[in-house]
């Protein structure tokens, strides 16, 4: 399930709910991304989404991850709007029979989210605001899964 939310979420509660009632799942992996303060240089992060497009696009990749890594389940929670340093931006959770598939699916989904999901990030700080674009490393990370 894909959730885009403007409100802060509780990652622990989300992980408990995701893990509950699974008799045949041996592994749940998760990745939690937090907004960095950059030693005072970032006072807030602004995340722009196009909900009617962003949600379905992430859903497509989550479905691909499900097939590629034989997942039992996958969920992504992504914040939008204004995010304070220390708050959770993204939580990816994957459930599989064994740990390797669960870990790899998390890695795959995060690499996609960092440079290919329709989301735009602006960092606000004392010296103004700047749009953040994917780094060369982010782009190379996503390419690892191509082909």
């Amino acid at each position: 399930m894909i959730t885009l939310t403007e409100k802060p979420f509780d990652p622990g509660a989300a992980l408990s709910a995701f893990s509950a009632g699974r008799a045949d799942t041996g592994a749940v992996a998760s990745f939690l991304g937090l907004a960095r303060g950059e030693a005072g240089r970032a006072t807030a992060l602004e995340l722009e989404a196009w909900p009617e497009f962003t949600g379905p696009e992430i859903e497509k990749i989550a479905d691909e991850a499900g097939r590629r890594f034989s997942l039992h389940d996958v969920a992504v929670i992504h914040r939008t709007g204004e995010i304070a340093p220390g708050e959770a931006i993204v939580l990816v959770m994957t459930a599989a029979a064994h740990r390797r598939e669960a870990f790899e699916a998390c890695d795959f989904l995060m690499d996609y989210l960092k440079s290919r999901a329709p989301l735009w990030k602006k960092e606000h700080g004392p010296s103004g605001a700047r749009w953040i674009e994917p780094t060369t490393r982010d782009l190379a990370d996503a390419e690892r899964w191509d082909g």
Partner: protein
């Protein structure tokens, strides 16, 4: 009428997020020419690297025909997580 949507830094460059272009351009390249006339700074930003275009919420490459009422979105390099 063609609906045009901008995201990320493109909306800062143009100073708007959404507009309607009338009469509706027949092709995506016609729309780009109209943007060049009305918002030259935006046109320059659209010519930069990594800009993706979606027509009716599907990513497109190259030039395509636009049906009346089409929704065209211009998206700068994406960065979530």
């Amino acid at each position: 009428m063609t609906k045009v949507l901008l995201f990320g830094r493109l909306r800062d460059v143009a100073g708007w997020r959404e507009t309607e272009v009338t009469p509706a351009p027949a092709m995506l390249s016609d729309l780009r020419r109209r943007i060049d006339q009305a918002w030259p700074e935006l046109a320059r930003a659209l010519a930069g690297p990594g800009i993706q275009t979606a027509v009716n919420r599907a990513l497109v490459r190259g030039d395509i025909a636009l049906a009346p009422g089409a929704e065209v979105a211009f998206m700068p390099p994406m960065s979530g997580g």
